[in-house]
Point group: C2
Chain length 317, copies 2
């Protein structure tokens, strides 16, 4: 089969990768569309030391699996848990210490014709949800994680730092639950983007201070310092960026103002799929371009341009 393979020094399009073997508790999925995420670009910079087929956002159809799953249109959660350890038993499988992670850690990903996904990780895609919409389920689930972690602040004054793909999803999710949301933008172009989604763009200078919630989704090291300047005492900062660098951060304001700083990664697929079905969240404006899988290397280059929105790879045209 065809796939985009990262060997630690070069990303290559390969057309004779062996087809993965299905295991009893998994399904083989024929990938239709796959999304390129900032994490993929970080892996090409050395993040997680991953080697193998990249890609963890996808929509596809089960071509080999148990009867109930055969021919189902699916998306998949990316953390493959053991299901038996203390962490899994405690209901935290996304944090299973021996997990593999699709296209990120120890498990080949979805920039390929076929991908193997544990049955426990599969979600059926409702008929009303198009392919180009369903492929946003994984990043939208990550946005819902920030929402679930800050339920006590629903309806408050929220600020999202970063008007990239993830920031725009988080901002929509917070607005949908009734928050008064500001999105901090750096350029006229991102400002327009935010405006088009019915959200409030602001530049940093005019951004509201004393916010109940600030979500840091810039991907930049300075993001947390900016977040600390905007949040109110006893407020919450959600950190969405896994910046691969040491932060030199003055944490005394965190203690003095009793800030909660919450790390946030992957999230629940159910509310994400429901929001896509009911169109509570718009993803079409976030889509920049679709490349055929063969042009995947070029697509990942394009995705690394500053300000790039979502680029998709089409495996099964």
């Amino acid at each position: 089969m065809r796939a985009l393979v990262w060997d630690g020094s070069e990303l290559r399009y390969v057309d004779d990768v062996p087809v993965p073997k299905r295991r009893e508790d998994s399904a083989l999925v024929r990938v239709h569309l796959a999304g390129i995420c900032s994490t993929d670009l970080q892996i090409l910079q050395g993040y997680m030391g991953f080697r193998g087929i990249l890609g963890h956002e996808f929509v596809g159809r089960v071509v080999d699996g148990p009867d109930g799953w055969k021919d189902q249109r699916v998306v998949g959660e990316i953390n493959f848990a053991c299901g038996r350890c203390e962490t899994c038993a405690a209901g935290r499988p996304r944090h299973c210490p021996t997990r593999t992670v699709l296209g990120i850690q120890g498990a080949d990903g979805a920039f390929a014709d076929l991908v193997r996904i544990p049955l426990a990780n599969l979600h059926r895609v409702p008929d009303e949800v198009s392919e180009q919409t369903a492929v946003f389920a994984e990043p939208l689930a990550a946005a819902y994680e920030a929402e679930h972690q800050t339920r006590d602040l629903a309806g408050g004054r929220s600020t999202v730092l970063g008007a990239g793909k993830l920031g725009l999803l988080v901002a929509q999710v917070l607005a949908a639950r009734g928050d008064d949301v500001e999105v901090v933008c750096r350029s006229a172009r991102t400002r327009k983007r935010v405006d088009a989604l019915g959200l409030a763009p602001v530049d940093l200078r005019s951004a509201g201070r004393g916010r109940d919630l600030v979500v840091e989704a810039t991907g930049a090291v300075e993001g947390l310092t900016v977040a600390l300047s905007l949040v109110r005492p006893l407020g919450t900062i959600v950190a969405k960026s896994t910046v691969a660098a040491h932060h030199s951060l003055d944490l005394s304001p965190v203690v003095i103002h009793e800030i909660s700083l919450i790390g946030s990664r992957c999230g629940p697929f159910e509310p994400a799929l429901e929001a896509l079905r009911t169109r509570a969240v718009s993803v079409a404006p976030l889509l920049e371009e679709i490349y055929p899988l063969e042009r995947g290397v070029e697509a990942l280059e394009a995705a690394s341009r500053p300000g790039a929105l979502k680029l998709l790879l089409e495996a099964d045209a």
Copy 2:
């Protein structure tokens, strides 16, 4: 009157400080005992740029105030709020942006014969509570803040880093609510101290991993890195130390493991006074020595020895 005065370069015992004038919304309190806190020692290192009479932990008796308060035995909350701003109106007076703070920021403190305290900050001391017990109300309130901020984790596995004064109060408060508490100790001496309080001492090597809650009360820069190594995914770290230094901290584990890092400062006096009344928390083992106010400079030196427990100043013998 007599007082310990910090002028930014020298701490001096002065016996002719003018008596503070009572204002309409405040009381004059004759100080009986005052406690020396690590924050006092940090102020002598330049923290907060404070100038004036030090001291924010005290018990005393109202000598000038409205009828209801006259002759009452009292302790006092240290954040003097405006009572009119948005933050105060939102029920967060301890974070009032224009607040002064007793002996820390813009308000003369309690290492003196007399101290002025706003009526809104006074709490009556129950008759059953001795002077040497009541003087712990302020630091114990700070320990209860950590408890209030982590109510969702009550009954879980908690670790307290640091077996100093604050750490031992926090550990007792968490044990009282049913947490399975470990206190990380560095020496045989602190180990014994922890043991005497009926708590479980551990050294760092044998400390449990995957803890639900880790309270960082070491006062050392490395504390947070240690805390990150002990807390479980989706767990909580409470940061109690206002270390006056930039942390160079790898925050990617916070995001990957979705840790909540919560700053924690001053807390509610009501549960603290109630715990002192019912003896749910023991403070006598934390008391090291009582110095007369005249020997205050010497007492602050003694308090800065590593491993020192609570030193008190007696103004009104």
